[in-house]
């Protein structure tokens, strides 16, 4: 049984089946700017001044609209500014995935965020029975240190992930799915056995976990995996040859990469944490691209530059309003639904994000996630919200405009990260919307660490944060989030979900699982614990004169290995978004 309907394994450049190079995927340049409201999110004076100065710099360097001529598809060296230093890319210590995946490969590519991921370090992936999979591995692949890649590395990786406290992959081998054993059935063949049916293992789990070398990591006790500071050894298209916390990263292309020689020989990645400093460096030509999207305020200025190109992507992430479902009255489904109906998502998008994106009227997860239920709808319906509150007994008995419940007036605190003006503004709009249905909300700004801590300690009513691709586009994580305390917590009564979860576990095919997942989404959006505020677009700026091979990969933006590999290889792996 082959879960990949197109083909298991494919040819690489130089092979006859490599495809038509003239169809090289490319991001579409944005056309004339859409009309947008004049209101802008409030921010601190310093940030505003810096952005203003940067806008002047950008416009000073421009002058004529960006042309349509394309830059080179190969480069000797690219300078890519990264937003933060993440140490020497230890994947157990939170290395950013786009950078880590320059070094490491997965059995299946590119990620769980696409509908049909393709074999990568594997050549074929077969589902033997509902809970057993066999994987044929690519031969003649070598690690960056010259050691051969074998089935032992795959077995070791999955066993190590079970033991190492990564917080990122552990539950994808121990819980969803529950991988009970991984064995090498030959030098290039591995068998996976799950504790219960795991039809998604081939398209989700194997597309999620990077493979690490046994000969390097076996010397590191799993509990100490986070402390490793040596440069990583992978099979990927780039080798990290130096890392300096003050100067950044330097990668060299792996000339023997099995999927073909990367199109850029060397990547230099200085660390520039401040957005304004990053885009100033782009304007001055000191970097070729910023590995962070443009702030909304700068998009117009950069679009008018003759030297900087701007492309739009649809990231698999969104800002969300989280409700503490373990606290009264957020533990009542009708109350949570009333809040969802009271939010004017279109106004949030237009006012907070200047209209750059889509209103979040399709609920949770992200509508571009491969498992998203297309029929979901979360409309703005304040009248329905009022009726729901009335029926639940939340009435304004004293006529002060604020409803009362059994525990007193509905007055809550909404935590936002104070250093993110967009979140602060979103919080203010949420408070305004809820005030219209008789709920008083006080917006409280605090630091990001406190907001994160409040989620864990459950000492909050409402909070705004951003959830990224792993949370909103990975079907296994969607189920896991109902157990981990994010969307729900295992052990808390939730009979409707429990019934669906049992049904999900009993399903033995991807189609069966997908059907149950759609029901889970309907249930979640009917009584949400997380409400998407808007689905933002992202705009990326780069100097096309240096390199113009940037392509969008779902969930990764445009700075990732698929932009640096031969175009037909990236397209064959279903790793890029084709926009026309």
């Amino acid at each position: 049984m082959i879960p990949f309907p197109a083909h298991c394994g494919f040819s690489f450049p130089g092979h006859p089946s490599s495809g038509d190079r003239s169809l090289r995927p490319a991001p579409v340049r944005t056309s004339a700017p859409p009309a947008r409201p004049v209101r802008k999110p409030s921010g601190r004076a310093r940030t505003t001044l810096i952005l203003l100065a940067l806008a002047l710099l950008a416009s000073a360097c421009g002058g004529s609209p960006a042309g349509t001529s394309r830059g080179p598809n190969h480069a000797d060296r690219l300078r890519i500014a990264v937003a933060q230093g993440a140490g020497p890319l230890n994947i157990f210590a939170g290395a950013p995935e786009p950078l880590a995946e320059l070094v490491y490969d997965k059995l299946v590519a590119p990620s769980p965020y696409v509908a049909k991921p393709q074999p990568w370090l594997a050549t074929a992936v077969r589902q033997v029975d509902p809970s057993t999979w066999e994987v044929d591995l690519r031969q003649w692949v070598r690690w960056h240190d010259g050691q051969p890649f074998t089935a032992r590395d795959v077995v070791f990786t999955f066993q190590y992930m079970k033991l190492a406290p990564t917080g990122r992959w552990t539950h994808h081998v121990t819980t969803i799915p529950t991988i009970s054993s991984v064995t090498a059935t030959g030098p290039d063949t591995v068998r996976f056995t799950c504790g219960f049916a795991c039809p998604e293992l081939g398209t989700v789990t194997l597309a999620d976990l990077p493979i690490i070398p046994e000969h390097v990591w076996s010397a590191v006790p799993a509990q100490q995996a986070k402390t490793v500071t040596a440069l990583p050894v992978g099979t990927g298209p780039y080798r990290l040859v130096s890392y300096n916390p003050s100067a950044g990263y330097r990668f060299e292309a792996n000339p023997a990469y099995f999927a073909g020689r990367p199109r850029v020989r060397e990547l230099v990645m200085p660390i520039i944490e401040d957005p304004s400093a990053t885009f100033t460096a782009l304007v001055s030509g000191e970097i070729d691209i910023a590995a962070r999207p443009l702030p909304p305020e700068l998009i117009e200025q950069f679009r008018s530059s003759s030297q900087v190109s701007v492309v739009k992507t649809a990231p698999l992430q969104f800002p969300e309003l989280r409700m503490n479902f373990e606290r009264v009255p957020f533990d009542q489904p009708a109350f949570r639904r009333a809040i969802s109906r009271a939010l004017d998502r279109d106004q949030l998008l237009q006012t907070v994000f200047l209209g750059q994106g889509r209103p979040a009227v399709k609920g949770y997860p992200h509508p571009d996630a491969p498992f998203a239920n297309p029929s979901l709808s979360t409309p703005y319906a304040p009248q329905e919200a009022r009726q729901l509150l009335d029926q639940a007994g939340f009435l304004d008995r004293d006529g002060d405009g604020i409803r009362e419940g059994p525990d007193g007036p509905l007055r809550f605190q909404l935590f936002v990260t104070a250093s993110l003006p967009i979140d602060v503004r979103a919080g203010q709009l949420v408070a305004e919307d809820l005030r219209k249905i008789g709920i008083s909300v006080q917006v409280t700004g605090t630091d990001a660490a406190t907001v994160a801590n409040l989620f864990t300690t459950r000492e909050f009513d409402l909070a705004i944060s951003t959830i990224t691709a792993h949370g909103v586009a990975d079907p296994d994580q969607f189920v896991m989030s109902h157990l981990s305390g994010y969307l729900w917590r295992a052990g808390l009564p939730y009979p409707e979900f429990d019934a669906l979860f049992s049904k999900w576990k009993a399903a033995t095919t991807n189609a069966g699982r997908a059907a149950v997942l759609q029901d889970m989404q309907v249930l979640l959006n009917r009584q949400p614990t997380s409400i998407p505020l808007y689905y933002p677009d992202e705009y990326w700026a780069y100097r096309s004169a240096g390199y113009d091979g940037w392509v969008e990969s779902p969930g990764y933006g445009i700075v990732h290995k698929w932009s640096l590999l031969p175009a037909d290889v990236a397209r064959a792996a279903d790793a890029v978004v084709l926009r026309r």
């Binding site: 810096i50 100065a53 710099l57 100067a247 950044g248 520039i272 304004s276 400093a277 001055s284 660490a449």
Partner: protein
């Protein structure tokens, strides 16, 4: 009192200050509300089992008697062990060691440059007292002084990095540069941020130097020097400048000490990997071991700078060196501040 004894006394006083600062640093997790485990773990402890909390407590030595912990704290300190950063999984000493040289370089060169320029312009303004040029100079310097540091940095970047392309706009070094080229790259990348620091501190040094020079110019010994027929240049450099330097020196050490931990805005504008930025990041991440280490380092540097200023006074002013009491009841050997 012999100068050596005076030096020893000063060093002793500052060592006492350091001991108090280090002890407060040690006590911080205990003085804060709640369990110190919560502070040092940098994560929510509610979900931890009692066994895990006990393990963390033992890992940080919190299960030992307080005096034993205090002794261990000093033993670690004297061996250069400031603990592990909980957010970065790395020894605090390593992290501080990576950032300290850049901040020393940036603040040191910037403040030195600002001091030299401010002193020179202050002396010139005092010398031009009453002439038409003086108010123009004062207004010019005050105009620069009124600009916030980040704004000065943005203007310098706009002119010298974006428009002219003479200097880089970010970073302290270049990962691809090697040998002499790497040193040149460090210097090239230092120019704009150091100039920003210099311009940011220029105003206060200028005003102090100008006021101090005007005071000294009114002293009888200056009239005597001029009456002896000494050239104006000699009067200015040998008779006016040296005594006028004392308050300026104090100001420079205070400014340098403050900038040492507060240069975060300038470091941010230039993406300079300094200590201020590290402290800011540690605050955001609630990385208390790193914060404790950084605060201790800042204390040591500020106290060290003050000690240096104290020890430099006798070299600049013979009256301090010979310790002649200026008035009955004045404490012997006290340095005028």
């Amino acid at each position: 009192m012999l100068p050596l004894r005076r030096v020893a006394r000063r060093v002793g006083q500052y060592a006492l200050v350091l001991w108090v600062a280090a002890t407060i640093n040690f006590a911080l997790p205990y003085l804060a509300p709640g369990d110190p485990v919560g502070y040092l773990y940098a994560g929510p402890t509610q979900d931890l089992t009692p066994a895990q909390v006990a393990q963390i407590r033992a890992g940080y030595g919190l299960d030992r008697p307080i005096l034993e912990q205090y002794a261990g704290f000093w033993t670690g300190l004297l061996h250069g062990d400031l603990g592990m950063s909980v957010a970065r999984n790395r020894p605090v000493v390593d992290l501080l060691g990576q950032r300290l040289p850049w901040t020393l370089l940036l603040v040191g060169l910037g403040v030195l440059g600002g001091a030299v320029i401010g002193l020179g312009l202050g002396a010139l303004a005092a010398w031009w007292r009453g002439r038409r040029r003086e108010p123009i100079l004062v207004a010019g310097v005050l105009a620069v002084d009124s600009m916030p540091g980040f704004w000065i940095g943005m203007i310098l970047i706009s002119i010298f990095a974006v428009q002219l392309g003479w200097f880089p706009s970010f970073g302290a070094t270049e990962i691809t540069a090697e040998g002499v080229g790497a040193l040149g790259e460090v210097l090239r990348r230092l120019v704009l941020p150091a100039l920003t620091v210099a311009l940011a501190v220029l105003g206060s040094i200028f005003l102090l130097a100008r006021g101090s020079m005007l005071t000294v110019l009114g002293e009888p010994f200056i009239r005597l020097a001029r009456a002896k027929g000494l050239p104006e240049r000699r009067v200015a450099l040998h008779h006016v400048l040296r005594p006028a330097l004392l308050p300026v020196l104090t100001n420079v050490t205070v400014v340098a000490g403050a900038l040492f931990s507060n240069a975060v805005v300038i470091e941010t504008v230039f993406a300079y990997p300094g200590l201020g930025r590290l402290i800011y990041e540690a605050v955001l991440a609630r990385d208390y071991p790193l914060l404790q280490g950084a605060f201790l380092l800042v204390t040591v540097v500020v106290v060290g700078l003050n000690l240096l200023a104290d020890l430099a006074y006798p070299l600049l002013d013979p009256r301090v060196r010979h310790e002649v009491p200026v008035a009955a009841g004045a404490p012997t050997g006290e340095v005028p501040r």
